[in-house]
């Protein structure tokens, strides 16, 4: 099954995730909007006179708490998003692997601790690696550094996706061990073609991420539109799921020490819970 077909078959999940994101964002936005309206009432907005940006800055300047609320919402979304996506990882991967819903739930719940620990290892290894890379590439011009760093992040994402997919779909002997995360990196960067494909999807996701605030800012003033932003969020989500589906498609990979484990069975598309159950 191709990766894109996996995503297409999981379209209800994609829709559900997207709606969840939209709902969370809507709640945060409504809170801020309520604060803004409370701050300016009973006065109304000016007719469109080309000064929408000034009016936003005026409101933020007069009521700094609104700015704090906006930044707080964004910060909470970043932290909460990391935790939330980590928690949902098992469900998403199992669904993309076309598991039935009861198994999706079982994998999602049972693999949660391992996914959480591996997410931490991945974050640590990625941070350290990127810091090192940033130092090493200092002599390079910016135009050369940016692609290098983009590829590095994309490779790191692929490494994490390999580990997560393996944890959810195949037996892993040491699911909590940092070397499992390290071997994910080895597996990812051993396949430059895979990294290149993931980089392309990662760039799509990045563009979508950058486009969202930009679209919102460009739409300031009467008739400010949110649907372009929501659409961009959907595109970003689609790219991310496609990326994970590719890792499933390209797996399994070797995450156990060669001397300690047998060669993984490439035909295995069974749940680790099956193995544990046996």
């Amino acid at each position: 099954m191709s990766a894109l077909r996996r995503v297409a078959r999981a379209f209800p999940m994609l829709l559900g995730l997207w709606l969840g994101m939209v709902l969370l964002a809507g709640l945060a936005g409504a809170g801020v909007g309520w604060m803004g309206h409370a701050a300016v009432e009973p006065f109304g907005a000016a007719p469109d006179d080309g000064h929408a940006l000034f009016r936003v800055l005026e409101l933020l300047d007069l009521h700094r708490s609104i700015g704090v609320a906006i930044l707080g919402s964004a910060g909470l979304a970043a932290v909460g998003g990391w935790v939330g996506w980590t928690a949902l990882g098992g469900f998403i991967i199992a669904r993309l692997a076309a598991k039935p819903w009861d198994e999706v739930l079982r994998v999602g719940v049972r693999r949660l601790p391992a996914l959480g620990v591996q997410a931490l290892w991945h974050a640590l290894l990625t941070s350290a690696g990127l810091a090192l890379l940033a130092i090493v590439t200092t002599p390079l011009p910016v135009l050369a550094r940016v692609p290098v760093l983009l590829i590095a992040v994309a490779g790191s994402l692929l490494a994490h996706d390999f580990v997560r997919a393996q944890l959810c779909l195949h037996p892993v002997e040491r699911p909590l061990h940092p070397m499992t995360a390290v071997r994910g990196f080895i597996a990812a960067f051993s396949s430059p073609g895979s990294v290149a494909a993931i980089t392309a999807l990662w760039v799509v996701q990045l563009v979508a991420v950058a486009a969202m605030p930009l679209l919102a800012a460009r739409a300031l003033g009467p008739g400010a539109g949110i649907w372009g932003v929501r659409l961009a969020a959907g595109v970003g989500l689609l790219a991310a799921l496609w990326r994970i589906a590719l890792a499933i498609e390209w797996g399994p990979v070797r995450l156990d020490a060669p001397s300690e484990s047998a060669e993984p069975d490439p035909s295995a598309d069974r749940s680790p819970t099956d193995a544990e159950d046996r």
Binding site: V32, G36, P42, G44, E58, V229, A240
Partner: protein
């Protein structure tokens, strides 16, 4: 490398008579002939200056007073250093040569070789020489002064950084003797700048021959001697002489309107030069059209090296230093962020000083707003006159214009600071100087210009700038010129603002002098708001009334009542000024009128009509008004456009979605 280096030097420091505008015959007060030698090892300038000073006052002068500006950096307890505490505009005092000074070593009269003594004041930035014989009004005295100037590492406009030298305020300079015989010789303080008389300069600079040199005026001779070169400069009718030198400067030269524009560019900023030239030309076009011809034949723009940021952004006659232009890539500018306030604006601002202090040589210590504030105001007009239009910053395609930025600034200082004060009335740590002197002045002038109409204001200001060229105008001179120029010489007559449909006795008028007094000499804040808006039924006479016989009789309820539109306006600030009001009725008709703003509230009625919206100051004339959100109000049930709260809702959603999408899944 270089651009236009073959352009010849002008033959005269002033432009031809037909192009340079009027020059007053009594403008020239003091001439300087200076021989100066730069020692690049010690960073010292050894100088000998001959001063030819004419007493233009009405009383004999028994002494000559001097500015010794470089002594501001001589010790940590000078007036300047006490305020600056070792830094200026984020640049820090150097460690290699932290101190600078000017040491007058001898003073002799040319006529009889009498040896005189220059005595420094309590603060070493001022000094005086007692004269053996008073100089009569109209008479002239010549003095020879030998001096040594130690340049500090540059952190506050003047000094050196490696091989780069920016020599500003580097020689003993005669203070201004006012016409009543009073010396204006102010201690050099942190915010105060300079004040001097016009005169002619002939300066010989002896520097290493590898230095690329720029200076006030024109270069008239050069004489190479081994590894040194002597460069002779002449300038006419200027009140200062500055120069710069560096072996690394690259020249970028163009001629515009007969003026040689020479940029001395540190190599790292070479790519900026065309943008600065464009800004310079925009400034020239705008300011010559508004304030009269630029009189001199050269403009030298200095781009200090990146390791000498303290030298950036300072004006001297025909020469100024600018700062880097930060140009983002085209797509970023188009989609996300663009601005016109980088080094290109520095260029506009510092060139603007060629008018507001270079030509209109006000006392920068006593009335700093007269140059900094009026210059900032004129700079905003340069921006608006330029082809790019009125915006200054664009975020995601949405512009902030000058008025928007000024309002945001006014919010920070409203009710806190008076414009018309001496420079040393502002405490550096309070951070009010720039916003008050530069920006509030600009907001006052722009607000007045908007209210009375641009052509009318521009004509009055042009009259001021033409009349006071090559003089020392005061604040009262400007206020009087604007008042008379806008409302005529008759006292009590204001500028009529109401339209012709309003009878004279009901017409709203603006008292220009009162507006300027409130704006410049008080802390009053401009604040208007819509207190109430609604529609009611007209009042009739239903009910019980006594008739002529004192008997109560009932008047019945009328069968139908006409509606009445009601609007209550409020002046919540103490700055009283007329303000325009726009009312939109339910039938779609829009009507405008002026409210004089005298009472703190007023109720406006429109019998027979129903109102939908009211907006105070719909054309955003009053840029002094920091808070505008209460200027709009809608009647109940009226349809309102989405406002900033809705924008922030959308922005928040976008940021949250962006964060959620950025971290996963």
């Amino acid at each position: 490398m270089g651009h236009g280096t073959a352009v010849p030097e002008p033959t005269e420091p002033l432009r031809p008579a037909a192009q340079r505008g009027t020059i007053r015959e009594d403008a020239r007060v003091v001439d300087y002939a200076i021989d100066a030698r730069l020692d690049t090892e010690t960073h010292r300038i050894e100088g000998l200056e001959r001063i030819t000073w004419t007493n233009r006052s009405r009383v004999p002068a028994s002494e000559l007073q001097f500015h010794l500006y470089m002594n501001a950096f001589s010790a940590e307890d000078t007036a300047w250093m006490r305020e600056g505490r070792g830094s200026h505009r984020s640049a820090m005092q150097g460690e290699e040569t932290p101190w600078g000074y000017v040491d007058v070593q001898s003073v002799t009269t040319v006529a009889d070789k009498a040896v005189l003594e220059l005595v420094e004041g309590d603060d070493p930035t001022v000094g005086r020489i007692a004269l053996p014989t008073p100089v009569a009004p109209g008479a002239t005295i010549e003095l020879d002064i030998a001096f040594v100037t130690q340049l500090p590492e540059v952190f506050a406009r003047t000094g050196y950084a490696g091989d780069f030298v920016m020599a500003g305020q580097w020689f003993p300079k005669v203070a201004v003797l006012e016409s009543d015989g009073r010396w204006s010789n102010h201690v050099f303080t942190f915010h105060s700048e300079f004040y001097a008389d016009f005169g002619n300069y002939r300066v010989i600079l002896d520097v290493p021959s590898d230095r690329v040199v720029g200076a006030t005026g024109i270069r008239v001779a050069e004489e190479e001697d081994g590894d040194r070169i002597k460069l002779t400069y002449e300038a006419e009718l200027v009140h200062d002489f500055a120069w710069t030198a560096s072996p690394d400067f690259v020249e970028y030269v163009e001629v515009y309107d007969g003026i040689k524009i020479r940029q001395l560019v540190s190599p790292e900023f070479w790519d900026d030069a065309p943008a600065h030239l464009a800004a310079q030309i925009e400034a020239l076009d705008s300011m010559q059209a508004r304030f009269g011809p630029y009189p001199w034949s050269t403009i030298t723009i200095v781009h200090p090296p990146g390791h000498a940021p303290g030298a950036a952004g300072m004006e001297y006659p025909t020469l100024y230093t600018t700062s880097p232009a930060y140009r983002l890539p085209g797509p970023v500018r188009e989609l996300a962020f663009d601005q016109r306030l980088d080094g290109r604006f520095t260029t506009v601002h510092e060139f603007g000083h060629q008018y507001f202090q270079g030509l209109l040589a006000s006392d920068e210590f006593t009335v700093p707003w007269l140059d900094e504030g009026m210059n900032t105001f004129s700079n905003t007009l340069v921006l608006e006159d330029a082809p790019a239009g009125e915006w200054t910053v664009k975020i995601a395609g949405h512009p902030l214009d000058v008025g928007d930025l000024l309002r945001l600034d006014m919010r920070q200082i409203e009710g806190r600071s008076i414009v018309d004060q001496p420079a040393d009335a502002f405490v550096n740590l309070e951070g009010l100087y720039g916003r008050t002197v530069y920006r509030k002045t600009a907001a006052v002038m722009r607000s007045l210009r908007n209210i009375v109409g641009h052509p009318r204001f521009d004509a009055a200001l042009a009259d001021y700038t033409q009349r006071y060229r090559f003089t020392h105008p005061t604040a009262d001179d400007l206020i009087e010129a604007l008042t008379i120029g806008l409302q005529g010489p008759q006292p009590g007559a204001g500028v009529r603002l109401s339209g012709p449909e309003v009878a004279d006795h009901e017409a709203v008028q603006l008292d220009v002098a009162d507006f300027l007094r409130r704006g410049l000499r008080t802390t009053q804040r401009v604040a208007y708001g819509v207190r109430w808006i609604g529609n009611s039924k007209q009042v009739a006479d239903a009910g019980w009334h006594r008739d002529d016989d004192g008997v109560l009789r009932e008047t019945p309820e009328p069968q139908s009542r006409e509606p009445e539109a009601l609007v209550v306006l409020e002046r919540t600030g103490d700055f009283v000024t007329p303000v325009e009001v726009e009312v939109q009725f339910e039938d779609g008709e829009v009507e405008r009128s002026w409210w004089d703003g005298q009472p703190t509230t007023t109720t406006l009625r429109w019998p027979g009509r129903r109102v939908e919206r009211v907006t105070i100051d719909p054309d955003r004339h009053l840029e002094l008004e920091a808070i505008r959100y209460d200027n709009h109000r809608y009647a109940r049930n009226a349809r309102q456009p989405e406002g900033p709260a809705d924008d922030l809702d959308v922005l928040t959603q976008a940021l949250v979605l962006s964060m959620l999408g950025g971290v996963g899944p």
